[in-house]
């Protein structure tokens, strides 16, 4: 964000499917930009209430899950510096069956209200889960219809986008964010999602060992491909330098 941060506040609108998407996939980047003063609004389309991980040992059941996951997500947002959290209250696993026009409209209303510089969502085919792909598709369509001035980026998993050619993209499409300074916040967010992460022993190792398991970079695919990204390590510069 560096030189481009002067003046107006930068805003990010992240539109995801489940509590924990924001932390597990791109928590380092969100923590980084939050620490630089960005205003971040997170949408979770569902409350993740159909998840199978119930804590280890289990402390959640199907009917207590929505409230527990909301509380854990709120804690994760605090750890990452996300100021605003919005639920669409679509049932978990049912996003692709929700009225798509209504979904596009709801996201469009948020874009109108927030005027985000950067929109983050899932890629509509590489999202990896039907809810992810559905929310990504609706968000992309809302972005196109709103003729947003900002940038649209797709979040990606791990370091898969070190080799974008495997997915039909080139390095020109990829923005790589250095999150090495923000792994503590990312780990804290993992731990906030306690019922989802207790099963993963590495998360609960002593900090130094757990931090070593987290990658130092997160990768984003440029979503509005009509313009060439010129800077590949900053979501905001990628926009402003076009």
């Amino acid at each position: 964000m560096s030189r481009t941060t002067e003046g107006a506040k930068r805003t990010i609108l992240a539109v995801f499917a489940h509590p924990d998407d924001e932390s597990f996939i791109c928590g380092g980047t969100l923590a980084k930009y939050a620490s630089l003063g960005a205003e971040i609004t997170l949408v979770s389309a569902t409350r993740g209430e159909m998840g199978r991980r119930m804590g280890n040992p289990p402390y959640v059941n199907r009917e207590t899950m929505p409230d527990i996951r909301e509380k854990e997500l709120r804690k994760a947002c605090e750890e990452l510096g996300i100021q605003e959290l919005i639920f669409f209250d679509i049932r978990d696993k049912m996003v692709e069956f929700y009225d798509s026009e209504r979904l596009i409209e709801r996201i469009g209303e948020l874009m109108e209200a927030k005027q985000p510089d950067v929109v983050l969502t899932f890629h509509e085919t590489l999202g990896g889960h039907p809810d992810h792909c559905a929310i990504g598709k609706a968000t992309s369509e809302a972005f196109r219809r709103a003729q947003q001035k900002g940038s649209l980026f797709y979040i990606t998993f791990g370091d898969a986008m070190e080799a974008p050619e495997l997915f039909g993209y080139t390095k020109q499409d990829v923005v790589r964010i250095d999150v090495r300074g923000h792994l503590k916040a990312k780990l804290a967010a993992f731990r906030a999602h306690r019922c989802q992460t207790e099963i993963d022993e590495w998360v609960w190792l002593p900090d130094r060992e757990a931090l070593a398991k987290l990658g130092g970079h997160e990768y984003f695919l440029a979503g509005n491909r009509s313009v060439e990204p010129l800077v590949f390590n900053d979501l905001f510069q990628a926009r402003l330098d076009r």
Partner: protein
């Protein structure tokens, strides 16, 4: 939730028999049903743990679940049965309510 106690569960089942009930059931990630409304005739439990349960409804209907380990008669009167694996993941659920579950 508590580990299933067959006698206590039978007593809990009795609260729902011979009336209209709403069902929630699921098995791993492959299928779930929520708020199926049926006329429950009989609810049965079998096995020595993990347990099997079967519900007989609407004269011709069956639902059967296995791998059940835990149950809870919740404060709102709903009866929740679940099967957890050794790492806390829920493999199976079978739930009864006299009122619908939240949509």
């Amino acid at each position: 939730m508590d580990h299933i106690d067959k006698q206590k569960l039978q007593a809990a089942f009795a609260l729902f028999q011979a009336q209209d009930v709403y069902l929630h059931s699921e098995a791993t990630s492959f299928v779930f049903v929520r708020n199926f409304k049926v006329r429950l005739e009989e609810a049965m439990i079998a096995g020595d743990g993990p347990y099997r349960a079967a519900l007989r409804f609407d004269q011709a209907g069956w639902i059967r679940a296995e791998g059940l380990t835990h149950y809870e008669l919740a404060a709102d009167g709903k009866l929740l049965l679940a099967g957890y694996d050794e790492r806390g993941r829920m493999n199976v659920a079978l739930q009864l309510g006299k009122e619908p579950f939240p949509e």
